[in-house]
């Protein structure tokens, strides 16, 4: 996946790989497999959401009506932009333009941060209005029509929370990439970590693209 102290010869190739391409292919396959597990994990939540949405469509509609679709769409836009800049950074590295790549990585991080800030605004407004999961839901304050509205917010906070955690981890990884790019560790012949984190970031975006309509729009 990355360098190893026992590497023989060629800069970044670990000892047990034949060459850079062998290492790149292996690493990429590992990352894709990891993505499969991520999708399956969120998949479990999506299945649960689908089942309870079909059982309590009105309760879900009530829950969704408290969400601000404008903030959600803004966040969707922000993430799509960040996906683009992430992809661009790899493109630049392949061309050897590591300064441009560095800038693009930072734009990606900033996009992630904007996403999290908007998310924080949304969360705090939910907290203020007592729209919380399970028995924490403030029935008096929210005038909930459905007694189990807390379940919708259970799904909302679980899904967006888990997703938000992934965004934070992704931001951390991209900052690490940016630092390594600045040090000149990546170039046209070695950019596997960037490629890997890039795939992770795209999948995290993709999950949001499913979350947004399910939680905000379908209701």
């Amino acid at each position: 996946m990355s360098t190893n102290s026992h590497s023989h010869g060629g800069g970044h190739v670990a000892h047990h790989f034949r060459d850079a391409e062998h290492q790149f292919d292996s690493g990429k396959q590992g990352i894709w497999l990891f993505m499969v597990t991520e999708i399956l994990m969120f998949g479990g939540l999506f299945v649960g959401y689908a089942i309870f949405h079909s059982l309590y469509p009105k309760m879900f509609a009530e829950g969704a009506s408290h969400l601000d679709w404008r903030m959600g769409s803004l966040n969707t836009l922000v993430l799509i932009v960040s996906s683009y800049t992430m992809a661009m950074s790899i493109h630049h590295l392949q061309k050897g333009e590591s300064n441009k790549a560095f800038t693009k990585l930072w734009i990606t991080v900033v996009c992630g941060a904007i996403f999290m800030v908007i998310k924080a605004f949304e969360y705090s407004s939910k907290f203020q209005h007592g729209l919380l999961p399970g028995h924490l839901l403030d029935v008096a304050k929210t005038h909930a029509e459905h007694a189990n509205l807390g379940m919708y917010y259970g799904f909302y906070f679980c899904m967006t929370g888990l997703h938000g955690l992934h965004v934070l981890i992704g931001m951390g990884l991209i900052i690490w990439l940016a630092i390594r790019t600045k040090r000149g560790e990546f170039g046209p012949d070695y950019f596997l970590p960037v490629e890997g984190v890039g795939i992770f970031w795209h999948i995290v975006d993709l999950i949001w693209i499913f979350l947004f309509p399910l939680l905000y729009l379908v209701g």
Partner: protein, 530 residues
């Protein structure tokens, strides 16, 4: 395929020195040994809980535990044995050590991830152990809702521990898949890899595809306990049976995560000790994949009486029958491998033959449980307990023991004491049958599982069962002694004491740090005993 090294005294065990070199080692062989020590420890712990269960059940009524203590002991026995011993067992110990050696690689694809997965595993295991001091868990290892939501004990910590250990399992699986795909030596085609590798490969696919679903399910239980979201709680409009669907969607494939590697070990040992090429290599290899594939669609056979519809029960029963076929194929192929072989009976072979014996019984009773009408009677009785112990202990643990004796010469460069090792087999094999065969009868008589107390009609068989557990206990303690004394003071082993053909025997014992002095080039299949 050189079997000599430049300096035969330098190997992976002594090239780096000091405790620190073990805890930071990226060498798959050393990581395998780290797992071995930790899993042996947890096995000892889980075994002590098992002996406590049997002691309590020696007679009806309370013996020395209260009902609550018994339920905790039963939970810890199950959770430790499943999550910390049998699921990681063969892949993490023997798989880590021998997958790269058998395919002619210098290491697994991601050595750092491999070490990380051990740390993740230990973190999860320690969190799980912490519940012993933080209120204890009494949910059973299955965490069925709504009991697991209502119980006042430390269930939240336990599900989070299982979540963390699941991550470790995913990382190991991912590593093995890429290793098998990408790191095979020149000439080592997929149809030339040993059957143990095929088994690990199929297992790894299951680990990667099934574990995430368990992870999210366990997380939901934690959320449910913390905030009462109500997804699994009928009082809040939730569905407790949904949990069972989610849980068994992982845990049924997990059953094959536990048994497939054992089948791989048995294939290796039987071929080596019969000095004969394995019968039906392709069939055994693909039946592993077949079992893995079908295992995702049979989870509902745990739920015939849960309230799922009749038609669901029928479909799941039918699909379960289909899993029986590849299993039968393997059994007959191993039998055919013995035919016209040149068989010797060192301990690894005894354990492999013991596996065939016990797994045959575990298999046919599995069919009885897959048949709808009989399952209604046997479900959640001691019949089920006996069945899965025949498969998990009679199958997997016999294979673990056989595999460890088989590979001790390679792992440590030393031989174990053969007559003592045979004695451990006799104790474990007889003790096992004395313990668990009466449980089939108890189940048929109607004794439910997870019972702290039972009606007097069940007493004599329970007594026999408890006495059998002492024999197993002696057998495993003796094994521990045999293994430790082999490592400390066994006679020096040659590179290939069994005359086996697979690649790991073609390097020195113990192997050098990078496994092979020169990269092996493979020109034939793994079992060419001509």
């Amino acid at each position: 395929m050189a079997s000599t090294t430049h300096n035969p005294d330098v190997n992976y065990l002594n090239e780096f020195k000091g405790i620190g070199s073990w805890f930071t080692s990226l060498d798959h062989k050393r990581i395998g040994l780290l797992y071995m020590v930790s899993i042996f420890f947890f096995f000892l712990l889980g075994g002590i809980f098992a002996l406590l269960i049997r002691l309590e059940l020696f007679s009806p009524g309370a013996q020395f535990l209260t009902p609550d203590q018994y339920n905790q002991v039963m939970t810890y026995h199950g959770a430790i044995m499943v999550f910390m011993v049998i699921v990681p067992g063969i892949p993490a110990i023997l798989g880590n050590f021998f997958l790269p050696l058998q395919i002619g690689a210098k290491d697994v694809a991601f050595p750092r991830l491999n070490l990380a997965s051990w740390y993740v595993f230990m973190t999860g295991a320690l969190i799980a152990m912490s519940t012993l001091f933080l209120g204890k868990v009494d949910t059973g290892w299955t965490f069925y809702t709504p009991y697991s939501i209502k119980t006042g004990t430390a269930a939240t910590i336990m599900v989070l521990a299982a979540f963390v250990m699941g991550m470790s399992s995913i990382l190991t699986g991912l590593n093995f898949i890429v290793t098998t795909h990408k790191l095979r030596a020149p000439g080592m085609t997929m149809h030339r890899i040993p059957l143990f590798c095929w088994a690990l490969y199929s297992t790894a696919i299951l680990q990667v595809l099934a574990t995430p679903v368990l992870a999210i399910t366990l997380l939901l239980i934690a959320v449910e306990r913390a905030t009462g979201v109500g997804i699994f709680d009928p009082a809040l409009g939730g569905d407790p049976v949904l949990f069972q669907h989610f849980f068994w969607f992982y845990s049924h494939p997990a059953v094959y995560i536990m048994i497939l590697p054992a089948m791989g070990v048995v294939s290796e040992v039987i071929a080596a000790f019969s000095r004969k090429t394995i019968f039906g290599y392709t069939a055994i290899a693909y039946s592993s994949l077949g079992i893995a594939a079908v295992s995702f669609f049979v989870w509902g056979h745990h739920m015939f009486v849960s309230g799922q519809s009749e038609i669901a029960g029928v479909v799941f029963s039918f699909l379960t029958m289909l899993v029986g076929v590849p299993t039968a194929i393997k059994m007959f192929n191993w039998l055919a491998t013995l035919y016209k072989g040149n068989i010797s009976f060192e301990s690894p072979m005894l354990f492999a033959l013991g596996f065939l014996f016990l797994f045959a019984i575990g298999g046919v009773t599995g069919i009885m449980l897959a048949v709808l009408a009989t399952d209604v009677h046997f479900h959640d009785t001691y019949f089920v307990v006996a069945h899965f112990h025949y498969v998990m202990v009679g199958g997997t643990l016999m294979a673990v023991m056989g595999g460890i004796y088989y590979w001790i010469p390679k792992m440590f460069g030393r031989m174990y004491n053969e007559s003592l090792a045979r004695l451990t087999f006799i104790f474990i094999f007889i003790g096992f049958n004395v313990t668990f065969f009466p449980q089939f009868v108890l189940g048929a008589m109607g004794m439910p599982r997870r019972y702290f107390d039972y009606i007097p009609a069940y007493e004599s068989l329970n007594k026999i069962s408890t006495m059998g557990s002492w024999l197993i206990g002696i057998g495993f303690f003796l094994s521990l002694y045999v293994i430790i004394s082999a490592i400390r003071s066994g006679a020096k082993a040659s590179a290939n004491p069994w005359g086996a053909k697979t690649l790991e025997w073609q390097t020195s014992s113990p192997p050098p740090h990078f496994n092979f002095e020169t990269e092996p080039v493979v020109t034939a299949g793994p079992y060419e005993y001509k």
